[in-house]
Point group: C2
Amino acid sequence: MRLKKYTDYALRVLMYTATKNEEKVSIKEIAETFFISSEHIRKVVHQLSKAEYIETTRGRNGGIVLAKSPTDINIGSVIRIMENDFYLLECFDDGHNQCVITPACHLRHVIGEAMNAFFQVLDQYTLADLMENKEELRALMNQ
Amino acid sequence: MRLKKYTDYALRVLMYTATKNEEKVSIKEIAETFFISSEHIRKVVHQLSKAEYIETTRGRNGGIVLAKSPTDINIGSVIRIMENDFYLLECFDDGHNQCVITPACHLRHVIGEAMNAFFQVLDQYTLADLMENKEELRALMNQ
DNA sequence: AAAAAAGATGTATTTTTTATACATCTTTAT
DNA sequence: ATAAAGATGTATAAAAAATACATCTTTTTT
Ligand code: SF4
Ligand code: SF4
């Protein structure tokens, strides 16, 4: 059981961007901060932008800013969007389920309940909660 | 985010075995019930046996029985054993973590808390809970 | 003793998913 | 025009998971 690296990268992009209040940040500087190829960050940024968490501006002096206040960026929602696939079990994917006991199986409800508990925790936090020690984070990011 | 098919197969083996109280069951019949190759079931059975959830007997009239009462087989523990890897994030794997903000990052604690909530639910259930409607399950398994 | 039925072990292959890289746009301030 | 930024599409590589194959060993029955 793992989350995708892209999901984590997405949160890093949001955290990095949040350290620079209204100032624009570039894909390049995020990539260099975390020692990740700009290529990956680029894709993550694209998705975050489509989901309207950030606003991007092309061209010279372009860059990225948050599209809303950190208090309005919910961690659970970010993870749901980045992690497209939550088919923890075969029977969660109606289209491909071939398990014969599905109609009577309690296991699927137990796992479903566990997954809900997982998200219930995530849904309680926003980007603002992650930025509570903004200065400390900024220092580690070598700003 | 997915569980491995093997993890689910392991639970199916346990549920199937639980429907036949003390009677031995064979890998072949489990495989045929769920339309899965015996090869996969064999591996799962091997792991379940090593973890002492089931007892296997070789030879003619051999087969599988539960090694303990369904009330003593905790779902969370089965999943923890079958699913070896819970490195939801890069920083969860000390050996390979290169994330620069790890010392100050709150995200990792949020995800950790969510994962705990996930297991806390699973830890509340045992195989016995899944067998509450044993007859219904048995019918779907064509017994 | 031989045969058959069961599980044990080890290894190899294939498929799927995820991660990564490359090439080529488009936009915009200077 | 040019340079600096992001946008898009596609291709490749690496890792993980799923699947298959071959060959044991154990035990009961005949
Ligand atoms: S055994 Fe239960 S949980 Fe697993 S795939 Fe079948 S219905 Fe779903
Ligand atoms: S950003 Fe936080 S959660 Fe993600 S790898 Fe770094 S320390 Fe871990």
